[in-house]
């Protein structure tokens, strides 16, 4: 997705002229400290992992196409569900958001680059090594981790040789995320253009600002939890072993104290993306900017006091169950505010439906469906029926796939012409949207039904009355998976050529503004120097 192909000389006659182009040769990508190059690396890495994690999902769905075991044994199946989640969460959604942040935050706040460019390079280059370590376990004797991405003990402690590899990999991923988050906070706090007060920052900047704080708050908690697993497994401690005075449930509390804010880490930047895109294509300013900022902050705050709703069935005291039910239900209020604001932004606008807008609209509808099932899951007495069934699988895939992933794809189409200087192929983009939307619903909607009808999650084989919906879901999975090749084609085409994009790219940006649109497409290597002044 990198756009910069010019030489330093060509830049001399540019308004923001500078003499520092990228280093020649492949070393450019290893040594780069440029926010656009690093953003590009993050996005390509994320796309590669998307296809790897997607292939794992297709193995899972292929096995579940019919009852009976046809393709993989249950132990390998469990490795696939575990690795699919780890890859998609830590390898796809998080790096994609960091990639978008790297590319866009300096341009949106009027900065020349990220505040800490060398750390930026390091935080990316940790990722491929961390994932090499994690994926390598699949080729070891005994295979990869098979206890689910939540790594609940005691099962995860039975995991054999893969456990330390996965734990060290998670340590590295955490370090990478924390560095990325520090960089984002430092950039936003220090490098905003003169006149850009906090309450003038674009929503994508705001949501990432809040997300970065969440990352710094919870990634160390995850590191602590997995380190305790490590010492339980190899150094004789008993944090999670009742026989030694520990408690397996304590792991779940610590894990989900990380895990619930993590859920918002995976969605808040997507809220930001959609809040940028909908106004542009509605040709109308974002409705309720201030309430959007406060709603995002409230969601972030609430995310720290709802964690135990992931574990209602562990047998908490009644007061605990009531507390976590009430706080969880409360999240519906700020989330609802955001959805109402998006719809009000569209209301009496002059809408057009280019690919980014289609994905953003798909996001609003399908994320809201995931929000509805989330509200149902929040209610403890009925959650006892839903817990650990396919209903939960349907719920979190609705918020993560047509939610977070659609948000990312919308952002990529939205800024692709800015990055490459060429418009992508609009027909191809629309095909990508419609195929994705039809198949993603075919894939995940039937999961609500089998879940309610009693199918537990994480099983490689099932009773025959679940056969029909599972067959449909598998067809949806393959359709959705192969439709994503269109994204790759659209991106590559746009890099190679296509209709020239203006600096403004979309006519709606005239109304909604945004500093990134004042730069040329593709933008200069060092975005803003000197900084613009925001009135």
């Amino acid at each position: 997705m990198n756009a910069y192909t010019g030489t330093a000389d060509e830049h001399l006659d540019h308004d923001h002229g500078d003499h520092h182009g990228p280093a020649p040769g492949y070393l450019r990508w290893v040594t780069t400290t440029n926010h656009k190059d690093i953003g590009t690396l993050y996005l390509w890495f994320s796309l590669l992992m998307f296809f790897i994690g997607g292939a794992m999902a297709l193995i899972i769905r292929a096995e579940l196409f019919q009852p009976g075991l046809q393709i993989v044994d249950p132990h390998f199946f469990n490795q696939m569900t575990t690795m699919h989640a780890l890859v998609m969460i830590f390898g796809v959604v998080m790096p994609a958001f960091v990639g978008l942040a790297n590319w866009m935050l300096p341009m949106m706040v009027g900065a020349p680059d990220m505040a800490l460019p060398r750390m930026n390079n390091w935080s990316f280059w940790i990722l491929p090594f961390a994932f090499a370590l994690m994926l390598a376990t699949l080729f070891m004797e005994g295979g990869g981790p098979a206890a689910g991405w939540t790594l609940y003990p005691p099962l995860s402690l039975q995991g054999g040789d893969s456990l330390p590899f996965v734990i060290f990999s998670i340590h590295m991923l955490g370090a990478s995320s924390i560095m990325g988050a520090i960089n984002i906070i430092a950039t936003i706090m220090n490098l905003r253009a003169p006149g850009m007060t906090y309450m003038k920052m674009p929503l994508f900047v705001w949501t990432w600002f809040i997300t970065a704080y969440l990352l710094i708050a919870v990634m160390p908690v995850l590191a602590g939890a997995v380190t305790m697993l490590l010492t339980d497994a190899f150094f004789g401690t008993s944090f999670f072993n009742a026989a030694g005075g520990g408690d397996p449930v304590m792991f779940q509390h610590i894990f989900w104290f990380f895990g619930h804010p993590e859920v918002y880490i995976l969605i808040l930047p997507a809220f930001g993306l959609v809040s940028e895109i909908i106004p542009t294509f509605s040709r109308k300013p974002l409705f309720g900017y201030t309430s959007m900022v406060y709603a995002t902050s409230s969601i972030a705050f609430l995310s720290f006091i709802v964690w135990a709703h992931h574990m209602f069935t562990v047998g908490m005291p009644l007061v605990g169950e009531l507390f976590f039910m009430f706080t969880t239900m409360l999240i519906a209020v700020p989330t609802g505010v955001k959805v109402f604001n998006w719809v009000s932004t569209m209301w009496r606008g002059a809408m057009t439906f280019e690919t980014p807008m289609l994905f953003a609209l798909g996001f609003v509808v399908m994320f809201t469906i995931g929000g509805f099932s989330g509200l149902m899951l929040a209610m403890t007495p009925i959650d006892f029926q839903y817990h650990d069934t396919y209903f939960v699988v349907a719920h979190f895939h609705y918020v993560l796939v047509p939610g977070a992933v659609f948000g990312i794809i919308a952002g990529v189409y939205y800024w692709l012409p800015k990055w490459t200087g060429h418009h992508y192929n609009e027909t191809l983009g629309k095909w990508h949207f419609w195929l994705s939307t039809v198949f993603v619903n075919l894939l995940f909607f039937p999961m609500h039904f089998v879940g309610l009808a009693g199918m537990p999650r994480r099983i490689p084989d099932y009773a025959v009355q679940f056969a029909d919906f599972n067959a449909i879901a598998t067809l949806g999975a393959f359709g959705f998976g192969f439709a994503q090749i269109l994204l790759l084609v659209a991106v590559v085409q746009s890099i190679l050529g296509g209709a020239k994009a203006t600096g403004q790219v979309w006519d709606g940006t005239e109304i909604t503004g945004g500093l990134e649109w004042t730069l040329s497409s593709p933008p200069p290597y060092h975005s803003f120097s000197p900084q613009p002044v925001v009135k």
Binding site: D73, N78, L318, V364, L475
Partner: protein, 394 residues
């Protein structure tokens, strides 16, 4: 959304042999979708919703589930309706000029307060139901449920009955990778056990739930009862079953390789039938205990051993005794003396999936399975173990 028939759980909704409409078609999207459309009249079999269940709590839970679902549908219609009106009418291609408004304090207050009130209205019945569900006082029967990799153990402390409940044999044979057995030909595929839990209707039954190894979760949808089984801790839950019948569920917490293969079957019976069952179980237990004191013939041990191996050992060590490299070791009789073998079976290997079977199996079962393992599945030591020797080694 019809109430489920009270005597059959939805798990048994499709009779054995009935073919899934999608089953017969090749994996081509077009053909399968066509088949899906043709199959619409059979949709009733598909199981779309929670069961209404057979206890007061399960019906309350079902009604609350439907209430929340309808609330969500209504909100969805309003929100998506407004959005689609915008999409249809407020589009540039119709030549509209965009409005310029960008905030309204009144609107923000309205759509903060109204959802909050709806949530309060939902939270009140939910809290009431929850308080009821967590109150197991006044129970009239106690059953201790212990999760094991990968089977359930049921113990009636008051009645002195204890047994294991394993996946049924027909399902076990059909579930092997490429077994060649059609799951549709198996009665209650994956939802059948050898020894179901038998409970009386109309009595408040308290379950004490724990685990011997990893986390499990005991779940029967028709009772709306689900809780995690946690090693080292005991959790409590309860139900009152209204109607006699067979109710099926599954383990609901990932517990390793065979998580999908440890179903739960509850036979709810009338009070007199339950009393008769208790008496019969107690008599059978006494007979079993007596059989440990006599000398067993080699062939007798081998036959019993095969049966024990299939339910207790096969899941990890596999039918050929070769295990799974790197996960579960092969059973090589040359590597262990008879005494070491017996100790391993009795006490397990802490920190691994190898359980202490001394707490699970009778002296006869252990003698039989050790004898079997040393003389079958690739081993041929000629050594046999007597139940009395097991008793002495405990």
């Amino acid at each position: 959304m019809n109430p489920q028939p009270s005597v059959q759980s939805p798990a048994a909704a499709r009779p054995a042999g009935a073919r899934s409409p999608l089953r017969a078609v090749p994996a081509s999207a077009g053909a399968a979708l066509w088949s899906f459309l043709l199959a619409t009249p059979a949709r009733a079999d598909w199981g779309l919703n929670l069961p209404r269940g057979v206890s007061e709590i399960s019906r309350e839970v079902y009604d609350m589930h439907m209430m929340v679902l309808y609330i969500c549908i209504v909100i969805g219609i309003v929100v998506f309706g407004a959005m689609f009106i915008s999409i249809l009418k407020h589009r540039k291609s119709l030549g509209v000029k965009p409005a310029t408004f960008s905030h309204s304090m009144t609107a923000e207050v309205i759509w903060t307060v109204i959802p909050f009130l709806i949530l309060v209205a939902m939270a009140i019945p939910a809290a009431k139901a929850l308080i009821k569900m967590e109150d197991a006082s006044g129970h009239e029967l106690t059953v201790k449920v212990t999760g094991h990799q990968w089977k359930w153990e049921y113990e009636y402390p008051g009645e002195g009955i204890r047994f294991f409940s394993n996946l049924g044999e027909a399902s076990r044979e059909a579930r092997a990778l490429n077994s060649g057995v059609d799951p549709f030909s198996v009665d209650n595929y994956l939802l059948e056990v050898d020894n179901p839990l038998v409970l009386p209707v109309g009595r408040k039954v308290r379950f004490l739930l724990t685990s011997s190894d990893v986390l499990h979760a005991w779940w029967v949808p028709d009772f709306a009862v689900k809780k995690d089984a946690i090693p080292g801790f005991i959790r409590e839950m309860w139900t009152v079953i209204d109607a006699p019948g067979t109710y099926r569920g599954q383990c609901a917490e990932l517990c390793g390789k065979d998580h999908g293969f440890m179903p739960i079957v509850v036979e709810a019976v009338a009070e007199d039938e339950f009393a008769a069952w208790v008496t019969a179980e107690q008599a059978a237990a006494a007979a079993e205990a007596g059989s440990a004191d006599r000398e067993w013939a080699f062939d007798e041990l081998m036959e019993r051993g095969q049966a024990v191996y299939n339910t207790a050992c096969l899941a990890c060590h596999q039918a050929d005794g070769q295990g799974i490299p790197g996960v579960f070791p092969a059973l090589d009789a040359g590597a262990l003396t008879l005494a070491e073998h017996l100790q391993t079976v009795l006490n397990g290997k802490p920190g691994t999936a190898m359980q202490a079977f001394g707490a699970q199996l009778s002296d006869v079962d252990i003698a039989a399975v050790v004898t079997f393992e040393r003389n079958a599945i690739g081993n041929d030591t000629g050594e046999a173990l007597q139940p009395m020797e097991v008793k002495a080694a405990r």
